[in-house]
Symmetry: C2
Subunit: 138 residues, 2 copies
């Protein structure tokens, strides 16, 4: 819909309606979305096949326009990738289950791996309460 979304996709391949709709939805979201959540939101303005949605998501990840987060509920969550490559720090709310990307939180760890291990990359997940779930009781 929005021209920026379409331009983003065009820079990587064919800007099909499905791709534009999905990326648009991801860009608008404030937290990472599951396939099911996307399906629900997209259904509000037309139909989109389950499998097509899976394939569009895979394609977006492949193209670096989105990334997917694995969680404890065996469900992938997807998030549009901003201009900057982030440090993959994520926040999982233990109350509502939502997952937020902490884009500008680049954690610094001091770690010494046991001998023989070769460091590749690190992924940090914080568990706790998100702002919405952290409302003081009335």
């Amino acid at each position: 819909m929005s021209p920026t979304t379409e331009a983003l996709i065009l820079s990587r391949g064919r800007a099909t309606p499905a791709r534009v709709r999905v990326l648009d939805c991801l860009l608008r979201a404030t937290s990472a979305l599951t396939h099911g959540e996307l399906e629900e939101r997209l259904a509000r303005d037309g139909t989109l096949d389950r499998v097509t949605l899976y394939r569009v998501l895979d394609w977006l990840v492949e193209q670096g326009l989105a990334h997917k987060i694995s969680g404890e509920d065996r469900v992938w969550r997807f998030n549009a990738v901003g201009r900057e490559e982030h440090g993959h720090a994520h926040f999982r709310c233990t109350r509502c289950g939502q997952v937020f990307c902490l884009d500008d939180l680049r954690p610094s760890f001091a770690l010494a791996l046991p001998p023989g291990y070769v460091f590749g990359s690190a992924e940090l997940t914080i568990r706790g309460l998100c702002p919405a779930c952290n409302t003081p009781r009335v």
Copy 2:
């Protein structure tokens, strides 16, 4: 089998053959094991129902004798818990897929959460090459 394993379980409940066999297998393992890997290893000395294995694993986790690790392949991996509560730092080999617990690696992060978020716990996963996969080419 080993008396220590049986004692460990007895301290938490009934030491059934299935529980002893499973925990014994976990204690002997050098990396975290999937349900499938356990099934395979346990099959070598007798039969054990798939569902029973799932339930035994749940029970061990519930009792604090094991803990489970979620990964990118949507498969739980289980690991016996030593005496000390570890800091949940894990190493996932990007070549062989094995997951190792870095028990004595207690990473220190410097992180500042955005306002509104309440810190609960942190989980750190390192990706890279495990010692076995890091053999220099001959």
